[in-house]
């Protein structure tokens, strides 16, 4: 069950940043609009005392476009033993959101990973390069419209036929 402290934190966060809440499996997630995330993170860090960013990742809801992505953040407050889930919807057209790097230093690599695998840009990020994929890679592998990457087996009787539709160059 949710502690009283956490529900107070959630109420103040929802009021201040026009958020909504969702419940699942006994945990509450606060949904905050994308343009408020940086100030919300500062509030979470400085006033609510969640000094530790434990997880930052994204989910792709392709083919839905508005919003196409959800960013998922999880903050921990170690002295109070509380965890706070935050979700931020991001549009599928030129997906971008401001970075949390200045508030939580470890967001740096997490955001690079999300940029690499989902193609979401982080405004103001100090070093937004691909992290795990090679620098010359095309496309963003964890997007739902990106194929898993198997190759059709070619036999002598259908070699030409498959060669024609084999992806060449860009994989996007």
């Amino acid at each position: 069950m949710m502690s009283e402290k956490l529900s107070q934190h959630i109420t103040s966060l929802v009021e201040k940043f026009e958020g909504t809440t969702a419940e699942f499996a006994g945990e509450t997630t606060v949904i905050i609009p994308a343009e408020r995330i940086e100030s919300a993170a500062r509030f979470i860090h400085d006033y609510l005392g969640f000094k530790f960013l434990s997880c930052l990742t994204a989910v792709d809801y392709y083919p839905q476009d508005e919003p196409r992505f959800h960013l998922f953040y999880r903050f921990n407050s170690i002295p109070e033993a509380l965890s706070l889930n935050v979700r931020v919807p991001v549009s599928g057209i030129n997906p971008s959101i401001s970075t949390l790097e200045k508030v939580y230093s470890n967001a740096n690599w997490h955001e690079r990973e999300v940029y690499d695998l989902f193609g979401i840009k982080f405004e103001g990020h100090s070093d937004l390069r691909r992290l795990v994929m090679p620098a010359d890679w095309q496309g963003h592998p964890l997007r739902k419209d990106y194929p898993l990457g198997y190759e059709e087996p070619q036999y002598t009787f259908n070699y030409e036929e498959i060669s024609v539709r084999k992806p060449k160059g860009s994989r996007e």
Binding site: S105, R129, G169
Partner: protein, 409 residues
């Protein structure tokens, strides 16, 4: 084939200092094939003489797309991939994943299974720490410790082989319990290990703890304050060596850890030596937990009897039509999870290992993400190594205990 695009000079020039551009400092490539980077880690070092001015880690050489692949498998079948992430901690990865699945579908686990999970997870922690101790001591030129550590690790791997048939990629924990009950020799084997291990830890300590050469290489090297460590998302022994008491087994107990009596070792110096001491003490605490779990190991089933998620035992299939249907459904289509997402974290030997699992209501995970401890722990390396010698950098990499499979996934 696409044209190979080289990284341009402009793209990475913000990473090095102006002195490097004028040729005052040297840029040196270290890795990805280097014995003391503990895997395929590449570092771009900016050096002033032998001093590290800056260090830019380059990861991804072991990226295998595990998160993407898991999206195309059912919940049971995706589990085997978790073993392959952090190959020093396969049982811990299994545990995190099955806990996430169990939370997602609301599945209870019998007490015997929980106690066995704790015993094996703690054995795994000790075996991981032994590899860390051996290799990081090797990095600072203490050769013999390595051989002793691997002798004891062998004993642990033999126990894993006994219970699961595999030494490393066990996939022994399943959603709802265990693959099968432990065999009759298990308790005896763990007891034998518990008897010898405390003396063996004393032996390692006799070789290192007061060794002046070891102290010279580790004291005051690569230190980080508690506040910085927290802000950089460090977890595990690396964080606790800086004085922050954050251990998932206490912070958010899982698998019945709240029943066991153990301490969380803390140091405040935050240097390489403090991390060494914390991990040594952690091994002793793990032995305490195993001993308690073994003493009150309850009898009973090791799998949940909820047939909608857990396959029936083989013996039932021949006599029960229901069981046959469940068996068939679970191994072809799999089970469906309700729509929603969960985040579950456990204390791996390296720190917080979290699993974010989202379901769209179908039998396959919609999105799986692993928040891995090595990922955050490596990220801070530039900060830790600034101003130290290249030889110290090697000691620092060893002390944060990274596994590249864990970072790249």
């Amino acid at each position: 084939m696409t044209d190979i695009k080289e990284v341009s000079y402009e793209e990475i020039r913000h990473l090095v200092s102006d002195r490097a551009l004028e040729g005052e400092t040297m840029l040196l490539n270290m890795g990805p094939q280097h014995p003391s980077t503990h895997g395929v880690l590449r570092l771009l070092l900016e050096l002033d003489g032998e001093k590290v001015v800056n260090c830019i880690p380059d990861v991804g050489f072991l990226h295998t797309g595990i998160e993407k692949n898991m999206e195309s498998k059912t919940y049971q079948k995706a589990e085997v991939m978790t073993d392959r992430m952090d190959y020093m901690n396969p049982l811990g990865n299994n545990l995190t994943y099955v806990l996430a699945v169990e939370k997602l579908v609301g599945l209870d686990v019998p007490e015997r299974a929980q106690a066995i999970r704790v015993i094996l997870a703690e054995l795994q922690r000790i075996s991981s720490h032994l590899v860390w101790l051996g290799t990081s001591a090797l990095d600072v030129a203490a050769m013999s410790v390595f051989l002793y550590c691997f002798r004891e690790r062998e004993q642990i791997l033999n126990i894993f082989e006994l219970v699961s048939g595999q030494r490393m990629m066990t996939t022994y924990f399943r959603p709802g319990g265990l693959w099968r009950d432990v065999p009759s020799g298990f308790e005896q084997a763990v007891r034998e290990f518990l008897e010898v291990m405390p003396h063996r830890i004393d032996e390692y300590e006799a070789l290192l703890t007061k060794n002046p050469l070891f102290l010279d290489r580790t004291l005051g090297i690569g230190s980080i304050s508690a506040e910085d460590a927290l802000n950089w998302g460090l977890t595990g022994a690396t964080l606790r060596a800086s004085g922050v008491s954050y251990d998932l087994r206490r912070f958010a107990p899982y698998s019945g850890y709240e029943q066991y009596d153990f301490e969380i070792p803390l140091r405040t110096e935050g240097d390489v030596y403090a991390r060494y001491i914390v991990r040594i003490l952690e091994m002793r605490q793990s032995l305490r937990i195993i001993e308690q779990a073994l003493r009150k190991l309850p009898a009973g089933p090791v799998r949940s009897s909820n047939r909608k998620f857990v396959p029936p035992p083989r013996s039932e299939i021949g006599t029960s039509m229901e069981a046959l249907i469940h068996h068939f459904k679970l191994w072809t289509e799999g089970f469906s999870a309700p729509q929603g997402s969960v985040y579950v974290a456990t204390e791996s030997p390296r720190g917080e290992l979290g699993c974010f699992l989202e379901s769209d209501g179908g039998p396959k995970p919609y999105r799986v993400h692993f928040r891995t401890p090595s990922f955050d722990n490596l990220q801070v390396l530039p900060k830790l190594s600034k101003g130290f010698l290249v030889a110290d950098l090697v000691a620092i990499i060893g002390s944060v205990d990274i596994v590249l499979g864990d970072i790249d996934r």
